[in-house]
C-alpha cells in the first residue's frame, strides 16, 4: 500500500467531489431521454409548489414565524427557477420534444410567477395576504403531477 497509490486515490476523491459539486446537465439525445428529464423537472417543480402550499398553510394558521416562512418560500422559488432554467437549457432532440417543451415550459412559467409573488409577500411579513395568492397552487400541483405521470 504505497503512498503513490494513496495520492492517486486522493486526487480521484477530489475529482469526484468537484464533479459532483459542479454538476453539468447532460444532453438529451432521444425523445425518451428528454421525456425523462421533463418528468423529473415536473416532479421537482411540484415539490416546490407543495412546499409553498405547506408554508402558506403554517403561515396562515399561525404555526410559523415570518422569517421562517420567508426562507421556505424564497427557497421554493429559487429551486423552481433553477429547475426551469436547467430544463429550458436542454436542447430538444426533435419536434415531438418541442411540444413537450412548450407544455412544460408554460407550467413552469406559471409556477415561477406564483412562487415569486408569494416570496415577495412573505418578505413583507404580510402573512394573511398569502392565502389569496396561494389559491392557484393546488391546481398547479395537480397539473404538474399529471404531467409527470403521463411521461413516466
Amino acid at each position: 500500500m504505497g503512498s503513490a497509490w494513496s495520492v492517486r486515490v486522493a486526487v480521484g476523491a477530489l475529482a469526484i467531489v468537484a464533479a459532483g459539486c459542479f454538476q453539468p446537465v447532460g444532453p438529451a439525445r432521444t425523445f425518451h431521454d428528454y421525456e425523462l428529464k421533463a418528468e423529473s423537472t415536473a416532479k421537482s417543480a411540484r415539490s416546490s409548489v407543495e412546499t409553498a402550499r405547506l408554508a402558506v398553510q403554517v403561515a396562515t394558521d399561525g404555526d410559523a414565524f415570518p422569517p421562517y416562512v420567508s426562507v421556505l418560500l424564497a427557497e421554493a422559488e429559487s429551486d423552481a427557477s433553477n429547475s426551469q432554467g436547467t430544463f429550458l437549457g436542454i436542447q430538444p432532440p426533435d419536434k415531438h420534444s418541442d411540444r413537450l417543451r412548450d407544455r412544460l415550459g408554460r407550467l413552469l412559467e406559471q409556477t415561477g410567477n406564483v412562487l415569486s409573488t408569494l416570496r415577495i409577500t412573505a418578505r413583507r411579513a404580510d402573512l394573511q395576504q398569502l392565502k389569496g395568492q396561494a389559491a392557484r397552487l393546488p391546481a398547479l400541483s395537480k397539473r404538474l403531477d399529471r404531467f409527470a405521470t403521463e411521461h413516466e
Partner: protein, 131 residues
C-alpha cells in the same frame, strides 16, 4: 540509562510517542540513528539518537509522498539535518519513550516553539487554560 537492552527497534521504539521530563508530548520517534560498528561484543548496532520531525519521517515514507514531505521540511527548516535527541537522554522505554530533558530544550521542539512564539502566543487568551 546504563543497562544495555536488546530491543526490537521497529516494535519498541519506532513510531512511539516521546514524552519529555514534565510529561509533555514531544513528537514521535520517526527514525533512529544507528552506530553499526560501536559494540564489538554483541555485533548489534547501537542506537545513538532518536530522529524526530518531518525531515526524519519523510525518509521512512516511500515514494512521492515522502519526497513531498521532505521538500516541505527543507523549505521550513534552517538546516538540512533532521532534528535529533541523543539517546543518553532516554530514561524509560515503555509504550512511550521518556526523555530527561524539557521539550523546550530539545532540538526536536523547534516546530512547536516557532508556532508558539510567532503565531499562537500572540492570540489573546493563549496563556489561560479554558475556563
Amino acid at each position: 540509562m546504563n543497562d544495555r537492552r536488546e530491543l526490537l527497534a521497529g516494535l519498541h521504539l519506532l513510531d512511539h510517542q516521546i514524552l519529555d521530563c514534565d510529561g509533555w508530548a514531544a513528537g514521535k520517534v520517526d527514525d533512529l540513528e544507528l552506530d553499526v560498528a560501536a559494540d564489538p561484543t554483541t555485533a548489534l548496532p547501537v542506537v545513538t539518537a532518536i530522529l524526530s520531525g518531518a525531515g526524519a519521517l519523510s525518509r521512512r515514507l516511500e515514494g512521492r509522498l515522502g519526497r513531498w514531505v521532505e521538500s516541505v521540511d527543507e523549505r521550513l527548516a534552517s538546516d538540512r539535518v533532521p532534528s535529533q535527541i541523543a539517546f543518553e537522554l532516554v530514561s524509560e522505554i515503555a509504550s512511550h519513550v521518556s526523555v530527561t530533558a524539557s521539550r523546550d530544550d530539545l532540538e526536536t521542539g523547534r516546530g512547536e516553539r516557532w508556532t508558539r512564539e510567532r503565531i499562537v502566543g500572540h492570540i489573546p487568551g493563549a496563556g489561560h487554560a479554558p475556563e
